[in-house]
Amino acid sequence: MSKAEPAAPGEFSRPYRDYLKRERRSRLAVRGSQAGLLVVFLILWEVLPRAHIVNPLFTSYPSALIPTFIELLKEGPQQRSILAHTASTVFATVVGFTLAMALGTLIAAALWYWRMLYRILDPYLVVANAMPKTAFVPIFYIWLGATLSIYGMSLAISLFITILIIYNGFQEIDPNKIKLAQTFGASRAQIFSKVIFPGSFPTLFAALKVNVGLSLVGVVVGELQSASIGLGYLIQYGSQVFKLNIVMTAISILAIVSVVLYAMIYLLEAAVTRRR
């Protein structure tokens, strides 16, 4: 029996308030469910091993990881705190995706500038991207040594997909915007700097998001093989001495690291988008 009434000035109408309420409720439902899933996962992980439904030796459980973490904080394998191991992995990841972004953008720009180059290299890029790069881990170790092979693997995993994503982004710029620049007599370099590149910011962020995850994969895989520091090394070490607590602690930290890196990019993107 509600009657539509004109809203008083400076005040939301009743149907609009109802709409806002519904919106807020559905947003809360999504957030609540997301938190709920995490809690359910943690509870199962805690309860199932403790009830010996799964073997705790294989999975460990969250409450057991906290003492392990505190112990590793003081001193972990190689006489280093787990923070040093984390820092090493994060640093290598940041180097990896920064390099992949810089090189990827540069190479994509070159491919855009010299169309012939793209036509020649296209099949090789596609194959290089599809290759299982992890197959090169032992070779990279021989070629590049313990430390550089980690950066190498990080770059190898993330570079080709970065090139392809960014190049495709360049291709998707409205050709009419290019024509517009041409009406003023723009050179190809000017078309790139005035139209293609600034128009591709959303693509660059999309590439960066993919990149961060892949760089982390590359670093951890590299560390599994060759490092004496890093979370990948901790995982390798923990499994060799069958201390699953160490392995699970390292994996949990990796999960947190990827969330933090992703959140940072998300915030950066929001800041840049607001400014533009």
């Binding site: 009419n176 517009l180 009406t183 003023f184 007599g185 139209v195 533009r276």
Partner: protein
């Protein structure tokens, strides 16, 4: 060459221009033997059915495309690449969403490496004249279609070209905005004494704005006929486009061009 109307040196001339497109699938003849002569300050409308090469003709005049045969001359000099003498306004505004309104308006000056400070000043003046003074630092998405098209006009005129090419500049707008903006653009271009080539498929638009209407045939586009447009205006002043639509001569011109275009509705 026939002398331009009024016997003055033509501002813009096309001499036996042919254009053919090549693709692996074959060869397409887009324009055939186009010869035109347009005097300084003249407003010429070009009409023809879609696909007849109207827009291509503008790309040729601007120097984005090169003719397969023949020559395009501005001020008697052949056009080989886009230059400052010719401004080209496209069908839509294509404003860059990452630039502010003012930054969009000075794009041409930036590309032509002109004095940026002077360009900013001129662009700000033009935008103020078009009622956009309050929007200089806004983003394109905050503007209506008509406002955006005015920004596009400011962008075209900011580099101060003598010749302005309009490629269906109002086609993306709703009909009220279209009529109002046509009057405005017409007034601005006349006042600045620009030589204008307007391409459109809208007969009424062409008649209401042009001194002369050229009809292109179906592909390959060639000049089918030319029609000087005169309105017996009080005081010898040509009526503004909106007024011209209700002038006594308007319907006769419209009907003649309609027959020339041989519009057939398919199906």
């Amino acid at each position: 060459m026939p002398p331009a109307p009024g016997g003055v040196t033509p501002k813009l001339e096309l001499r036996g221009v042919n254009l053919r497109y090549f693709s692996p699938a074959g060869e397409t003849e887009a324009l055939f033997d186009i010869s035109l002569s347009i005097g300084p300050g003249e407003f010429v409308g070009i009409i023809g059915q879609s696909g007849c090469g109207k827009s291509t003709l503008l790309s040729l005049i601007s120097g984005i495309l090169k003719p397969t045969d023949g020559a395009v001359l501005v001020d008697g000099r052949p056009v080989t690449r886009p230059g400052r003498a010719v401004g080209y306004m496209l069908q839509q505004d294509f404003l860059f969403e990452w630039r502010t309104i003012l930054e969009n308006a000075i794009l041409g000056a930036e590309i032509q490496k002109a004095d940026i400070a002077a360009a900013r000043e001129r662009a700000a003046q033009l935008l103020a004249k078009y009622g956009l003074a309050a929007f200089l630092d806004h983003r394109p998405r905050e503007l209506s279609g008509g406002m955006r098209q005015r920004v596009a006009l400011a962008r075209t005129l900011c580099t101060n070209p003598d010749v302005v090419l309009l490629d269906e500049p109002f086609s993306a707008l709703d009909s009220q905005t279209r009529l109002a903006l046509a009057d405005e653009v017409y007034d601005i271009l006349r006042r600045e004494n620009k030589t204008v080539v307007l391409v459109t498929h809208d007969i009424a638009e062409a008649v209401s704005m042009s001194d002369r209407v050229i009809v292109l045939s179906r592909r390959p586009g060639r000049v089918k006929s030319e029609h000087p447009i005169r309105f017996s205006a009080p005081g010898g002043v040509r009526p503004a486009p909106f007024e011209a639509r209700s002038a006594p001569e308007f319907n006769a011109y419209f009907n003649r061009l309609w027959r020339e275009l041989e519009v057939h509705v398919e199906g």
